[in-house]
């Protein structure tokens, strides 16, 4: 399995992007599926309710009902991925929550044509039920691509680039004292502090501080965190 997508460039500096596997892909899809089903059902219910209120006991006719209720609901359900991937530059709410995004093979945002092809091939990927073909393809493909991705030349990657604020929190003194690599490890651990189990983060913090020769006498959770924060001042 290739876990990295290498993007060559004219300057000779290659960039490597981490390819998302079937797990992250499924997680994003499940979130998106719930959002689009809820949005479509919400529209259908609201439009049906409004039509019923406006027309009272008189039937509005199949044409009005179709145009106001059914067609927009189907459009929300079927065009959700295509439209949002264009607007959000290769992301959808589900992909954003799963920390992944779509890129073309040159690392850029895929064009509307490629996104259209990718979504049309859902017809095959979703066969016979619940995306069995697509999921099986991602499991056997070296780059975890489904058929739609192969056809469109798109790759799903982890979208984990840090923000400006993360960089800002790395002080020059910390880099000078620890070196860039160590300072980043400390910053990374502090960034994930609340996501980790207390035992795991204390163990990691203690190992890191010992390696750097800054292990505190008091080894409780708060003291270890304070010691790490002290390294970045």
């Amino acid at each position: 399995m290739n876990t990295l997508l290498r993007i060559p460039s004219v300057t000779g500096i290659d960039v490597e992007l981490k390819i998302a596997g079937p797990g992250a892909r499924s997680y994003a899809f499940i979130i998106d599926w719930h959002i689009r089903v809820l949005a479509a059902v919400a529209w259908l219910s609201a439009a049906t309710f409004l039509i019923a209120r406006m027309h009272g006991a008189v039937s509005p006719g199949i044409r009005t009902f179709s145009l106001v209720s059914i067609v927009p609901s189907l459009a929300i359900y079927f065009l959700y991925h295509f439209v949002l991937e264009i607007i959000m530059h290769g992301r959808t709410p589900g992909k954003r929550m799963a920390g992944v995004r779509l890129v073309s093979r040159d690392g850029g945002v895929p064009g509307a044509g490629a996104l259209l092809i990718r979504n049309i091939f859902r017809l095959v990927d979703s066969l016979p039920v619940v995306y069995c073909v697509g999921l099986a393809t991602t499991m056997v493909n070296r780059e975890s691509l489904r058929i739609g991705d192969i056809a469109a030349g798109t790759v799903l990657i982890y979208d984990a680039a840090p923000t400006d604020d993360v960089l800002q929190s790395l002080s020059a003194r910390a880099v000078e004292r620890l070196g860039l690599k160590q300072a980043e490890v400390v910053r990374d651990l502090l960034g994930r502090w609340n996501e980790l189990m207390p035992d795991a983060r204390d163990l990691l913090a203690l190992r890191l501080l010992t390696k750097l020769g800054r292990a505190p006498a008091d080894r409780d959770d708060a003291a270890l965190r304070t010691a790490l924060e002290g390294l970045l001042d």
Binding site: I7, S9, T11, I13, V15, E16, L17, I62, R63, S66, V71, H89, D106, G107, G108, V109, G113, A114, L116, I117, I120, F121, L123, V124, L145, I147, I150, A151, A152, G153, A160, A161, P162, D164, V166, L167, Q168, L170, A172, R173, V175, E176, R177, L178, G179, L180, K181, E184, R187, D188
Partner: protein, 358 residues
């Protein structure tokens, strides 16, 4: 100065520049309305960011600074090297040049798929003519009941649904069939062959069945306004699907994935044109075909004219006509310019002749 001190100095000095260019990149996402100085700054910073990225990759290969710079560098690369988009020009070109060029490339596939369809239709007709009970394989019970009562299932279709809704349902269904025919080419073309074969068998079988009840003429009258283009579009979609299958089976010098992607991108342009024609067919099937006010001659004329337009567009005829008109206009303009120039030259000549000499 220690290595760490050098890195710290580099980091402190360069961080404002990285943040500045990241901000400018957000502005550049606006495209044509972006400020020129943002674009110039992006171009100037491209080699600098590349150099910074190289330093970061050496100092901390998978670190946060490296990942941040990779993102900025990729965005810069995409912004600077992105092809200018011109949809107003590109979409007409798909209809005028790209789709006809793809159709020419796929003419062998189109011929094979059309032959398969005709053979399957003939086989379906022969099967039902020889073994009438097999019609249940190709038609629903409701359709069979209608025909046995001496009427077509399409009779009184407009009493059930208005033409507009009927049209939308029909073209949505036809577009889905065409897309399935194309996409199932991903199964080495076998899915496409299956769909084309089944559709051929159904058409032949149903026609043979209606013929047994002397309704084939009425069925043809119903089908002829929309059917020529509808069936042709599905056959061409089948040809695109077959080309996808061929790209996987015989990728040539490319990898299978790259050949498949190339074949899909090529076929998508033709598919776009087919979708537009299928919408037209759906409208005809909703508004003309079920309406008994249209006699057979009118239906046939509409159907053949629409088919002629289909062939005209896919053979590149529209482009030839437009190019010829444009050439004639250019020639006319050139003649006009020359005439004006000659007139002005003659005037100047006569002015010089009459002018007093010094």
């Amino acid at each position: 100065m220690s290595e760490n001190a050098k890195t710290a100095r580099w980091f402190t000095q360069r961080l404002p520049a990285w943040r500045d260019i990241a901000g400018r990149l957000a502005n550049l996402e606006r495209g044509a309305s972006a400020e020129p100085e943002d674009l110039l700054a992006a171009v100037r910073s491209y080699p600098e960011i590349a150099r910074d990225l190289a330093v970061a990759q050496r100092s901390s290969p998978q670190g946060q600074v490296t990942r941040y710079l990779e993102r900025v560098y990729l965005d810069l690369h995409r912004t600077i090297f992105r092809r200018p988009g011109d949809l107003k020009h590109e979409i007409p070109m798909v209809f005028l040049r790209d789709a006809p060029a793809v159709a020419r490339t796929l003419r062998v596939h189109i011929a094979w798929i059309a032959a398969l369809f005709v053979i399957c239709a003939a086989a379906g007709a022969w099967l039902v003519a020889t073994y009438p009970e097999l019609v249940s394989l190709f038609a629903s019970e409701q359709m069979i009941d209608h025909v046995m009562r001496g009427e077509l299932w399409t009779d009184g279709l407009l009493n059930i649904l208005p033409s507009s809704i009927l049209s939308v349902q029909i073209f949505a269904n036809n577009i889905m069939v065409a897309l399935f025919t194309l996409c199932l080419g991903a199964a080495y073309g076998l899915g496409t062959v299956y769909i084309i074969g089944v559709n051929g068998l159904m058409l032949g079988g149903v026609f043979a069945f209606t013929a047994q009840y002397r309704l084939a003429g009425r069925l043809f009258a119903f089908v002829c306004a929309h059917g020529f283009v509808e069936l042709s579009a599905i056959i061409v979609a089948g040809a695109i699907g077959a080309s996808l299958g061929e790209a996987l089976a015989r990728p040539g010098p490319l990898t299978r994935g790259a050949a498949f992607q190339q074949a899909t991108a090529r076929g998508a342009k033709l598919m776009l044109v087919l979708v537009v024609f299928l919408v037209g067919s759906g409208l005809l099937e909703g508004f003309v075909s079920p309406d008994s006010a249209y006699p057979l001659a009118a239906r046939l004329t509409i159907g053949l004219a629409y088919f002629a337009l289909f062939v005209f567009v896919l053979s590149g005829g529209a482009d030839k006509v437009l190019t010829r008109n444009s050439a004639q206009r250019s020639k006319g303009a050139a003649l006009l310019v020359r005439a004006v120039f000659n007139r002005d030259s003659k005037r100047e000549e006569s002015r010089l002749k009459t002018a007093p000499t010094i």
